[in-house]
């Protein structure tokens, strides 16, 4: 293949040869519809779906201005949603770009936007079982993200314990938008279960329904605004998780932040460090600089990559955020704002490219 990550490398030794060369940390498979998971639901909830004519998970209040939010060429035969056909997915993402491992991120963290926590828990389990059968078992390059009901941390932890030890499950996935900041102890059972099962806590763009708006100013009018503002929710979550001492409680816990941008990270690190020097007695469990906790416990994915007019500014951001240890490639296939591994990046030093395209993800997910 001709993907960037497959450019010749100098002097490969035995260990290097075993290294994965391209890992996509955000690849969205999809269902063809709720009918896919009906067989996996308990009878009560299956009947609930039929009786209520439940058709889809809560969807964004923003009509997605481009392609309905999908890459138009990724729709299987012009019918069905992009990402819902395993063969096309495989061909268009894995084979075309030479992706060695794709972490499937679905569309399903939206279960957490439902008001009914019991329904969310049942749907989560059904979606996870369906994912294992319909996707993970279909190609050894797939890894799965568990859907969990964030409305009910105890139920979420139970689901994590049910499937978290499977080698093809590498993380849970939930939205950056939340009902309260994720560092608050309401969510601790989820983080504890992730740590117990060695799963990454994957936080993805999103947050509607019962979640708070992505900005403290409220709901913006346009998809353009919503998409751009989402990084604010990520920042709030990082700050909360650090300040609340989540990583003192769960030192083995790591977060992967997807589709929320990354250029804001140096700002958050600097400002948090600065304020911590004066205000640390409020959170005296923080005995090291917050930025050190961030670099240790958070990874960010690249898509949608920041595109400054001058490439060197992006490289400067990479340096500021220690991208060699914090940044992981993601494509967001098959969505409209997909990033090509060949074209999305400026020329990178070879070592940094390896770190971003594969090694950071390999280390984080144990691939």
């Amino acid at each position: 293949m001709s993907a960037v990550a497959h450019e010749p490398r100098p002097a490969l030794d035995g260990e290097s040869l075993r290294e994965l060369s391209l890992i996509d940390c955000d690849a969205h498979h999809n269902w063809r519809g709720v009918k896919d998971v009906l067989p996996y639901l308990p009878r009560y909830w299956a009947d609930y779906v039929v009786e209520s004519q439940f058709k889809s998970l809560p969807n964004s209040p923003y009509p997605k201005g481009v392609g309905g939010g999908e890459r138009v060429d990724a729709r299987p035969g012009d019918v069905g949603s992009a990402g819902s056909d395993v063969d096309l997915f495989r061909r268009q993402l894995l084979d075309e770009w030479g992706v060695d491992i794709a972490i499937l991120t679905g569309q399903f963290y939206n279960v957490a936007f439902l008001a009914n926590a019991g329904f969310a828990a049942a749907l989560s389990s059904a979606l996870n079982d369906w994912m294992i059968d319909a996707w993970l078992s279909q190609d050894p390059r797939f890894r799965g993200s568990l859907t969990v009901p964030m409305q009910d941390p105890q139920a979420a932890a139970k689901e994590i314990d049910r499937l978290g030890s499977r080698p093809d499950i590498v993380q849970i996935l939930f939205s950056a938008g939340s009902r309260m900041p994720y560092g608050q102890q309401f969510y601790d059972p989820i983080w504890e279960a992730c740590e117990r099962n060695g799963l990454v806590a994957g936080m993805h763009f999103g947050g509607i329904g019962i979640m708070n708006p992505p900005t403290s100013a409220g709901w913006p009018s346009y998809y353009l605004e919503w998409h751009t503002s989402m990084s604010q929710a990520f920042q709030a979550q990082v700050i909360s998780l650090v300040c609340e001492g989540t990583f003192q409680k769960f030192p083995g816990l790591h977060f992967a932040l997807s589709e929320g941008g990354f250029a804001w990270m140096p700002h958050v690190m600097w400002r948090l460090d600065k304020n911590w020097k004066a205000l640390r007695s409020e959170c005296p469990w923080l005995t090291q600089k917050p930025s050190e906790i961030i670099v240790e416990h958070f990874r960010l994915t690249t898509q949608p990559i920041e595109e400054p007019d001058d490439d060197k500014h992006l490289l400067q951001i990479f340096e500021m955020m220690d991208a060699a240890h914090t940044l992981m490639f993601s494509s967001d296939y098959p969505h409209w704002d997909f990033d090509s591994p060949q074209q999305a990046f400026p020329r990178l030093p070879a070592d940094l490219k390896r770190r971003i395209f594969a090694e950071n993800a390999r280390e984080l997910y144990g691939l």
């Binding site: 609340e244 001492g245 409680k249 020097k277 004066a278 640390r280 007695s281 959170c283 005296p284 469990w285």
Partner: protein, 136 residues
């Protein structure tokens, strides 16, 4: 103290002038220095915060706030931590070391154990009922 330090010895007050819990901010050889009495122990710190040069010794003295885990807070050594009146950075009166980064962020100070002092510190002695700051 060694006798050759005599020229660096500066009487700043009678002991009784600085009761426990109080401080004296005084000019010593052109430098503004705060002399603190913590339960009969005297400490001296340079009256300038290493952060942005705020008048450190005008700040409140507080306790040392630590935590074994999130939410479990301890409050000890009351009166032994000085907070800069500008931005609240905390410094240990006994050592001049900041709480947040004791190894790298410090203010010039006088430890009780003079012998352990290295260069670039101030020293304080009680001599004939007088408080003496020794520039080092």
């Amino acid at each position: 103290m060694a006798s050759n330090a005599a020229t660096k010895r500066h009487v700043v007050a009678r002991v009784g002038d600085i009761p426990p819990g109080e401080r004296l901010i005084t000019d010593v050889a052109g430098r503004s220095i705060g002399v603190f009495n913590v339960d009969g122990r005297f400490y001296a710190l340079r009256n300038s915060c290493p952060h942005q040069g705020g008048p450190l010794c005008l700040g409140r003295t507080v306790g040392l706030v630590l935590a074994t885990r999130p939410g479990e807070i301890s409050y000890t050594r009351e009166g032994e931590i000085l907070r800069c009146p500008w931005h609240g950075w905390e410094f240990d009166l006994a050592t001049g070391r900041s709480v947040f980064d004791p190894n790298r962020t410090r203010v010039k100070s006088y430890p009780v154990e003079v012998e352990e002092l290295q260069a670039e510190t101030y020293t304080v002695e009680i001599e004939r009922d007088r408080v003496v700051v020794i520039l080092t």
